[in-house]
């Protein structure tokens, strides 16, 4: 059982942000934290790992207190026994794959865990390879293996798959799930990919502006807006052409241009540069497999 009460003033990309999070996490659970960038997701992980100190609050894991502002307890990251997989992997450039794992061993650890992890993560053949020649997916597996060497009770994953393509992502998700089961971990994963959260987690927490906006099973949490009978996108108006009483509006959604037709009455006062939401009922969609 992990008990978190975290308060901290953060300076995010969108200005100052007051983070205020209370969470109880069951042992053995797979939790995901979802939210837009700048909502404080990564900060929560960093505070659990001891890389950032909350202003107020406490962190209790099982019956150990890792942080308590009132009692001035702040355990060093070295003493918290967490596994942390960083977004950019942070492999040590001066060590080969086996070296990375061996470095993570403590004096009292059985060194055979290194070979075991190389096996589980399918990186045995890369033993003597250095990080700069590894692919993204391989780096990710090495980072994961390295985080598991000390058999931590808690595994923290910071958007672990965001830099990978779809196919690789799916395989790596399986590696993580396997590790979660084999080692009996409690895992907390930051992600902004709803599909990934569905696939992997038991519980999900939605952070908005530093606060828990929703929490529960992924199906319940995302049911209202993500899973619905309509498509919905946000974009920016690039140009508006008037043709009689109709308007032809060019909208940039992600990197795609979409041409939408509307009337003055319907869309109201619209100008170039406005951020808009485009929605359509999904009663007759075209669904096509595009896997490579």
């Amino acid at each position: 059982m992990i008990n978190l009460t975290l308060q901290k003033q953060l300076n995010g990309v969108n200005g100052p942000l007051q983070l205020d999070v209370n969470l109880d996490i069951e042992k053995g659970a797979f939790i995901s934290i979802y939210g837009l960038s700048g909502s404080g997701k990564t900060s929560v992980l960093r505070m659990i790992a001891g890389l950032m100190s909350p202003d107020k609050g406490s962190i209790q894991v099982a019956d150990e207190v890792w942080f308590d502002a009132a009692k001035s307890i702040d355990k060093a990251p070295q003493k918290r026994n967490v596994g942390f997989v960083f977004q950019d992997y942070t492999l040590f450039p001066n060590m080969n794959v086996e070296g990375q794992l061996k470095y993570a061993l403590r004096k009292e650890d059985d060194p055979s865990v290194v070979d075991e992890l190389l096996e589980i993560m399918d990186i045995g053949q890369l033993k003597s390879t250095y990080p700069r020649t590894l692919s993204g997916g391989q780096k990710q597996r090495v980072a994961l293996a390295r985080a598991l060497v000390q058999k931590p009770s808690l595994l923290l994953l910071d958007e672990p798959f965001s830099a990978l393509d779809r196919g690789m992502r799916s395989r790596l998700q399986d590696y993580v799930l396997q590790a979660h089961k084999v080692f009996g971990l409690t895992t907390i994963m930051v992600s902004h990919d709803v599909a990934e959260i569905y696939k992997m987690s038991d519980q999900t927490i939605v952070l908005e502006e530093g606060r828990v906006a929703k929490q529960g099973k992924p199906q319940g949490v995302f049911a209202n807006h993500e899973v619905s009978g309509k498509f919905q996108f946000t974009g920016e108006v690039v140009s508006i052409e008037e043709q009689g009483f109709l308007l032809i509006i060019f909208i940039l959604i992600g990197s795609d241009f979409v041409k939408v037709i509307g009337s003055r009455d319907e869309v109201g006062p619209l100008k170039v540069g406005d951020r808009v939401m485009v929605a359509s009922k999904a009663f007759n969609p075209i669904v096509k497999i595009i896997n490579p």
């Binding site: 070295q78 026994n81 596994g83 942390f84 942070t90 470095y103 000390q150």
Partner: protein, 223 residues
């Protein structure tokens, strides 16, 4: 040609570089990561020899270590260390004078490393010292090499500070740069030229080797 001044120059450079290396690593590490209020003061002091005329440094060291004042006298009487016109004094002055050349490259190497490397090592339970020696320093080898070579080469090129505190004692403080000056004064141009040529070739070779190594040319052409 009398080789003594050249040998003395290289002895001084080697000793100075070794001492500098040992003190610069903790100092550069502190400067790279500390948030202390003292940091700007220490940074300024470390950089001072870059802009201060060597004669100023030499002058104050001469005053400080002179046996005619209390501190110099105490040093001489208590541990028998005479810093004026002696090799030990030269080493001390050189260490101060070449300090920024060793500290700056190591400090900037450390500051340019991703913060994540350090954090990843801490999360793996490794202490600050272990992280420094096993993760951080091995990843800034080119900066360390630059520091060593610059400090070494800079000590070879020392003149003003040596003249002030060391004087011109053959075999003790008469290094090559002083010997050149001496020979020119005596209108002995061919001897001055021999010393100069040796210094020129040696310093060129050292710096050339560093640029070859740090520029990756060696790996590209022979690796």
């Amino acid at each position: 040609m009398d080789w003594t001044p050249l040998i003395l120059t290289f002895k001084l450079s080697v000793v100075t570089t070794v001492i500098l290396f040992v003190i610069s690593i903790p100092l550069a590490n502190w400067l790279a990561y500390s948030k202390s209020k003292l940091k700007p003061i220490i940074e300024t002091l470390v950089s001072m020899p870059l802009v201060l005329p060597p004669t100023v440094l030499g002058f104050y060291l001469l005053i400080a270590f002179s046996p005619s004042n209390a501190f110099g006298k105490w040093l001489d009487e208590s541990i028998g260390l005479n810093m004026i016109f002696s090799f030990e004094g030269l080493v001390f002055a050189s260490v101060i004078y070449s300090l920024p050349f060793m500290v700056h490259p190591i400090q900037s190497g450390l500051s340019n490393l991703s913060e994540g490397l350090k954090e990843a090592s801490y999360v793996l339970g490794k202490s600050k010292t272990e992280t420094l020696f096993k993760v951080l320093l091995p990843n800034i080898k080119p900066s360390i090499l630059s520091g060593i070579v610059l400090a070494f080469a800079h000590t070879i090129g020392e003149f003003g500070v040596v003249l002030m505190i060391g004087g011109n004692i053959p075999g003790e403080t008469k290094v090559a740069s002083i010997a050149i000056y001496d020979e020119v004064e005596a209108l002995n141009y061919s001897a001055a030229n021999s010393y100069s040529l040796v210094l020129f070739i040696v310093t060129f070779s050292i710096l050339f080797a560093v640029y070859l190594f740090n520029g990756g040319y060696i790996k590209r052409f022979w690796g």
